[in-house]
Symmetry: C3
Subunit: 473 residues, 3 copies
């Protein structure tokens, strides 16, 4: 039975006994600090309405592309794991219990993976399962979790409190009315902060199939009567202000590459018009998207929203899967990026702008030591985004710290970002991050590179100070 490992107090800590003991001490100083989650994908309505979570499969398997992708790799077609996209006529999802059985059968595939770690921790600490799941006990674990989900203690708001979450940022469409966020903020019985995040990709990226329709709606809703490129910029500024008024602290950008470009207004308007009439070339699209990153930085300088950039993923790599199941279904594949030249136009004008915060993420680990640490170690605006997506895992997080710290120290990092839509995994993810930070620092202490006293301060600053400072919380 591998139950014990999920509850082991030394999990993820270094094997060397002396270093482990230092890490235990450091961990203990941050283990009970509240969770600050400045970027993620939980739906605010879930918190607002406080509706019970659905069954185990619908909660933990079907919507989680980390999970379905690896089962799919083992040969299980996706339609046995998740609902086809709505566009698929007459489609119906697979039976939840059947999905759960597939998952339990596939559970051994997750050994050594980050997802497996988060799931096992949830099973143990959230759902109280006292042994590892398995194909043989699939129905029993399904029933046990289902029963828990019906308990009042498993409603989102109670879990939010039990998980000790202080701040939870969501990711939202620029035209979202943010009604759920407002309702939560105005509810005197709820004490957590649920903050919207401005995410305008589908309004900036000409290649997005709905771009022109989105722009129509955007200008109509918030263009102040303006039209064309000018109305478009005005509308973006207005919607950003609306988000700020509703508590947003950041604007997030999922772009193909980190390219930025400053066009003059006339050129930008020309590209915009060409795109609106469907005549933009691939080059136009790249230039316009790069230019809009420049514009977003300009607006962030003006309205104070922290700017976060997530580039370098080839979205929807497998067309057939995309057609049948839509986006975010496990086949976004990273590629090499180059930040140094790409981000330069933006940094020329805003790199030292007062109170501008720019958090740079990457799926290409090679840029951590080569580009991001040097950039964040000079520009006051630039912060190192925490290891993201495929890199949000114990070994990868240690590689990150090793790659950036010697150049940029600890003060230039964003703090942990869980980036998750899996609400129940949030404590496991933050706990894993704290354990890894403690492990890294403990090694530096053991090697007499940082004193114990200073490490005590650093661990608190890394876990609690950094996200508050970087995300202006």
């Amino acid at each position: 039975m591998s139950q014990s490992i999920a509850a082991n107090p030394n999990r993820l800590l270094p094997a060397d006994p002396g270093t482990r003991s230092i890490a235990r001490d450091l961990l203990q100083r941050v283990q009970d600090l509240p969770i600050i989650s400045p970027h993620g994908h939980v739906d605010a309505a879930v918190i607002e309405r406080n509706t019970p979570f659905p069954d185990p499969a619908a909660l933990l398997v079907s919507p989680d592309h980390y999970v379905t992708r690896l089962i799919h790799a083992s040969g299980v077609p996706l339609d046995r794991l998740r609902q086809p996209a709505a566009s698929e006529a007459g489609s119906e999802g697979p039976d939840s219990r059947a999905v759960w059985r597939e998952f339990c059968k596939a559970w051994p595939l997750f050994e050594g993976t980050a997802s497996g770690y988060w799931l096992r921790t949830q099973f143990s600490s959230v759902f109280g399962l006292d042994r590892d799941i398995s194909a043989e006990t699939a129905d029993a674990s399904y029933d046990a979790i289902s029963a828990k989900l019906l308990e009042p203690g498993f409603r989102p708001r109670q879990l939010f409190k039990d998980f000790n979450i202080e701040v939870l940022a969501t990711t939202d469409d620029p035209l979202d009315d943010l009604a759920s966020h407002r309702a939560i903020a105005e509810d005197p019985t709820f004490h957590g902060r649920v903050l919207p995040t401005f995410r305008p990709d589908a309004y900036l990226n000409i290649a997005h199939p709905a771009w022109s329709a989105n722009v129509d709606r955007l200008i109509a809703a918030a263009g102040d009567g303006g039209t064309g490129y000018a109305g478009y910029l005005t509308a973006l500024e207005n919607r950003r202000r609306y988000f700020v008024e509703h508590g947003a602290v950041s604007a997030d950008h999922g772009v193909r590459t980190p390219a930025t470009l400053k066009l003059d207004d006339a050129d930008a308007a020309r590209l915009f018009d060409r795109a609106r009439s469907g005549e933009a070339t691939a080059q136009d699209r790249d230039a316009f998207e790069a230019h809009m990153m420049y514009q977003m930085a300009r607006m962030s300088v003006a309205d104070g929203l922290v700017m976060t950039i997530h580039p370098g993923s080839y979205r929807n790599h497998h067309e057939q899967t995309f057609e049948k199941f839509g986006p975010d279904t496990g086949h976004d594949i990273p590629f090499a990026v180059n930040y140094t030249e790409a981000i330069r136009p933006l940094l020329q004008d805003f790199g030292t702008a007062e109170d501008f915060h720019l958090v740079l993420f990457t799926l290409d680990e090679t840029v951590f030591s080569r580009e991001l640490a040097p950039l964040a170690g000079f520009y006051p605006s630039v912060y190192l985004g925490a290891p993201w997506w495929f890199l949000d895992a114990p070994d990868a997080m240690l590689r990150f710290r090793s790659a950036v710290t010697e150049t940029a120290g600890f003060s230039r990092s964003s703090g942990f970002i869980d980036d998750t839509r899996a609400f129940c995994s949030i404590p496991a993810r933050h706990d894993a991050s704290r354990r890894i930070e403690a492990s890294f620092l403990a090694r530096l202490v053991a090697e007499h590179r940082v004193s114990e006293e200073r490490a005590h301060e650093l661990i608190v600053d890394i876990v609690d100070g950094s996200p508050r400072r970087v995300f202006k919380l």
Copy 2:
């Protein structure tokens, strides 16, 4: 004397005593499992004819580009280490004993290298030398190994048995008649499996100097009377079938880049014709080679041969050396590759094809975490090729596991590939791999990320299950 380290039971295992003890336990569970070698370069005729191995230098030094390259780097001209290429008129190889003396003199250069580790292990465990070799004892070690090579126990078939090899795949020309393989298979006194591998590079790559002549011979031999591009495809299909009938389980492709491309038949035929008449441009060549990778995948889907791709080496980097000594003489130098976009056309059509196995290798470590683990963690067809060539070494193998496991787990790897033409090094290489797998897993156990029970199963699956499953053995 450094003799003792080659025989030390803890060699390559982690220094931390607790982790080492776990690793010892894991290693002990796989140490006696048979060797499965699904990709390598031993000549089947050596096994068939069971001829004695030549002298120590001709066995261990001259043909091994890992070995001669480092001695060459120290300033010893290659003609003091290996025979010039046959094309060199009147050339004669250096004296074996003189080569061995050069090697012994250069032996300290190999400290810390993978080659040094394999050689030292062979000296100790295969040839029974009880002390490290040295310049001073060069003649003595030459004589000792020479004497061993004359013993009947050192004939290839006996070593094959003593090495506990179950399966050994060779690498063969598509027009090879596979007579040695057939003879071995039909010999009731020999119990190992020696399998051919279809390796068509010189028939697919227009840039190969013998391409057109090869294509002539190919079409003549197996084109079923067809001509041109159609006859060419038919001949390739026929020769693959011939390989399948003779036990082949895989087709291997040494390409410059991992580019793939689907051309329609007319376009492909046009490129083919242009190449045949010597008019292909560099662009044509790239497109045709990429298209033929697509065709190879199509054929693998049809005939079941596992497809393996080995890209990213700048072959014959030093022209003078190539002219004098030919290929595979130590100056193939890796460069950066990008799989994500390059392999996409192939995966669009075959990524989820039933029973298609595609094993992707790389010499560019950066793609392990960034591209290969994400690809293998979604596409059922894609497997992670084991660390290859310069990366087939203790630290590099640990970096590989650390880079891929958190995304793809353990089930998506090919299992160890020795890829060697050095028959006597095979046990040392597999042993090293098993020690590293045990070391990596032991760390996960020590960090409570994998339970001991599960690690016991995983180590056996990694060493024995994976190669059987991935290579359909």
Copy 3:
């Protein structure tokens, strides 16, 4: 108080007690060896004139871009840390004590960084501070260091001796008369070697603003009456000879990329003339710079100067900062490089040239295992440059050894290069390097990959033998 860690005898050594004990033993064998510094940026005049060092801020903070960059990143404008460039009319530097206070306030930012480690070591071992610096004690530490700087024992020549420096190479303009070097060499009371290094970037790189003026001066000074491209080559050859006569052992090249190219004389002369008349395109510039690398290699083969190449940094990334503060002010940002194809033209002709030494550096770690170790493991001319600049740090140095050793062993590395203009940091940097080499080797010993006897020889060869051999000292 973290004072103790800077003096801890186990600092930087591995935490595992068994490995640490081996490392201690190895370290003890090299700790007292003289410092050999074959590449750096100390001004020879400082040694020649033996003038006292200025105040603490002017010595340790203002001129050190490693230090000012991280304070700048925290939001302190550079003009509070360093003097604006001379071009800035009427500019005056900040008050030294005020700079020191800023630095002390910012000191916690340096935890975990390489700069922080070097500084702390200097405070402890050079300046005898018995506790860590802090904002509260800024004036006291300023006064304590100031007092030390006035003592005769803190004059450059006494420190040179106390630091146990045997060889110190400077970096010099090709037209420098090397008077300081000559004076030092001719001074019978001074026993160290201070060697010039030929650094012709500003004479080779057409894009350099002063290129044409520099070429005028170069040809006038040393062209032997020749003009144009021929006079230019002659002048370079003559100045190199002048450097050789004054003790230089190497020529250093700070280039954008590692591109090399062999042009025939007529083409090169044409590019040269076009550049002289201000008509060179960006492509011309790249081609000419690449060609001049080929020429520098040719000259090195002839005159014996070791050729070192430092590519891959985007110099002066932030234009405003460059305009106000000039170059080397902390915003040079690395980017990805590719050596394999780029260096090939040079290696075709000179890769096996007798006694030619080519030391290749990189800021892009990915090329260590992928390109540099394979190149250095074949070409007798190629040596692996030590981890440089952002990579000259404990973890990065360990990654370097892990990345290259399994392919290239220990014999193909340059030995440690401090590359510093901070004279007082030299002992700390060499000490850190020795500790890391001992740590890496100790792990190989603990894993029974290298015997203890052999490790004893290797550590001495790495620290003392390699730089002497590679730099022909």
